[in-house]
Amino acid sequence: MNQSTSTVINTILTVALRNLLAHRRRTFLTIGAIAVGLASLIFLWGFNEGLHRNMLGNFQDAIIGSIQIHHQGFFQHPELSKAIANPQKVVAALRQADVSRYSMRLESFGLAASDITTQGVMLIGMDPLREGEVTQLGKRIGIGRFLAPEDEYTIILGATTANNLQVKLGDEVVIIGYDRFGAMLAESFTLIGIITSGEMGLDKGMAITTLATLQQMVDMPDRVTTVVIGSDESRVPALTAELEAALQGERLEVMPWYAMFPVMKEWVSLHNGFLYLFLGVVLFIVLAGELNTLLISMLERTREFGVLMAIGTTGYQIAAILLVEAVVIGIVGIVSGILLGYVIVLFTGKYGIDLSILLGSTSRFYVDPLIHPHLKLDHLGITSGVILVASIFAGLYPAWRASKLQPVEAIRNG
């Protein structure tokens, strides 16, 4: 860039900035509108993200974990004949992938029977020590206690199941099941805990005992059907791919939570979709507000622009003045909005937003009533970028109109 070009650019910048400062109130109101709009969006994204993290975290913590490994086809058709052939290979792959949070389970179906009635249940044999590292099922036991390693033929039922069977702690519950060959089995268990989570999937149709007890009952010592893995949400896709690669040829399925329960991921996408709609509305407001400001500013200065054109300013330079004003308003508004939004998310993220007054049983949807907003950088980047583009767009029309002014008309009628 030669000196004369940089001088002209500096001059255009000076005119634009001076004009913004000359109309401080109008400028700051427009900047304020952008900042508040962006801060609201940032807060909403943060709240949304906090809600999703909370919900998905609880969902995974409840019982399914982040990733599960089964024999191929087990998830669709769970049968004991589809046990994992070589669990030690899975453990070796997990160690290689630096995964320490995992647990083994044996899963089947059966009938739970009391003196009064029977109820279909999913039978789960869990390792009481390792399970706590992957899920938080123990925390959802409202009555009684969780399994202990030394337990034998003890059982935990969901509250709805226990209620249907009309059993209480210490009562005998008979579990009728099948072994891997389809032969019927029946064993008596003592009820030691009742899950009172409020979550539909946990409170109904679940009977949990120790892994060793179930292995003994179905005569499958050391066999498991499921390996449940706990992982940070951000690592789940990569870890899934890594484990799939490590266990290739073993006839195993490596399923992240969203492959097992896609509806949860779709719900999150839908929720994000609503926010994108809201982003569109805010964008429209920002665009209309800034367009209005710049158009008024342009109309007010029609005579001035006419004079500037008469004394040698080109239409492009006039357009550049208005575009610089639009960009400056946009950038200052965005920086202020990011700061304001970040502070709000930081504060509410630290102390949480208690929705217990507004919502009834949020636990039904795996949501704690205390939401901690959390900001994701990609949401921040997309929102800020889109608002910056909208600000520039808002400047295009007034800039184009100003560049097309005829000096004489502008001076006469401005």
Partner: protein, 279 residues
């Protein structure tokens, strides 16, 4: 009178300009011929509506003529596109407007320096030039003030300094004293006259102010878009409006509207005729 009056700086031949309000034509200039030599201090005088401002706007490449030829500094203005005209104005012409028209957000010095910066001079050099010209117009001490902190006369001096700062060969001043009291107006004209003498810059001023006319090195009398020798002379009216305002110069939008109107009228006539036959 200036130092160099040998060469012609403005040469206008058979100039026609017409304004349209809807389909109504208003002839502003009608076959005007004018030559101004370099260094002249010429004043165009005439009543309101006589075509003074139109003449200055055309010479200043701010407006087009309908027909005729316009040569300023040897260049054909009418053949230039918008950008070429802007550059021509920036390099060759200084403007002084009736209403001063300074940039409100700039100080007096910045207003004057603006054109120099547009010409590509550095900010420092532009400011030095601005200081020089503000001193020349005797308000060097007011350079830091913004237009709203200056009187009308002071603002017009800033405007004169701005017009001179780009080192133009021609300064066009449209009613420069119209917004000033008579004492301030006289002072301004004296100043412009002096600058014309000292620097040889050509001044073409439009005015109906008697003081300005009195100071004129050459008085150009304009009446109904034509130059007259004396105010008693009644200019020859155009033989018909179509000679000075041919309909081919009607703005395109108006021509389209006229066409649609005529079409509708003819359709309406046919329809009425049909009804009559039926009845």
């Amino acid at each position: 009178m200036g130092n160099n009056q040998d060469s012609s700086i403005i040469d206008l031949r058979n100039l026609h300009k017409c304004y349209w309000v809807g389909t109504m034509p208003f002839p502003a200039l009608h076959g005007l011929n004018l030559e101004i030599a370099a260094g002249e201090f010429a004043v165009v005088a005439g009543r309101s509506g006589s075509g003074k401002s139109t003449l200055l706007n055309i010479v200043g490449a701010l407006e087009s003529a309908d027909s005729g030829s316009v040569e300023v500094l040897g260049q054909d203005i009418l053949g230039m596109n918008s950008d070429q005209r802007t550059q021509f104005r920036l390099r060759n012409i200084g403007f002084v407007f009736q209403a001063y028209n300074l940039v409100r957000v700039f100080t007096a010095r910045e207003n004057v320096a603006y054109v120099c910066q547009l010409q590509g001079k550095s900010r420092k050099e532009s400011m030095e030039i601005a200081n020089h010209w503000l001193h020349e117009v005797e308000i060097g001490h007011l350079g830091y003030r913004r237009p709203d902190q200056l009187s009308g006369g002071q603002q017009q001096r800033v405007a004169v300094a701005r017009a001179l700062a780009s080192n133009p060969k021609l300064i066009l001043a449209d009613e420069p004293t119209a917004n000033l009291d008579s004492t301030t107006g006289r002072r301004l004209i004296r100043l412009m006259h002096e600058l014309n003498h000292r620097f040889g810059t050509t001044f073409l001023i439009s005015s109906h102010d008697p003081d300005v006319k009195q100071a004129a090195g050459r008085l150009i009398k304009l009446a109904d878009g034509q130059i007259v020798d004396s105010w008693d002379e009644v200019p020859e009216p155009p033989q018909s409006l179509s000679s000075s305002c041919p309909s081919s110069h009607l703005p395109l939008g108006e021509r389209v509207r006229n066409y649609i109107k005529l079409k509708r009228q003819s359709r309406g006539g046919k329809r009425r005729g049909g009804n009559q036959r039926r009845s």
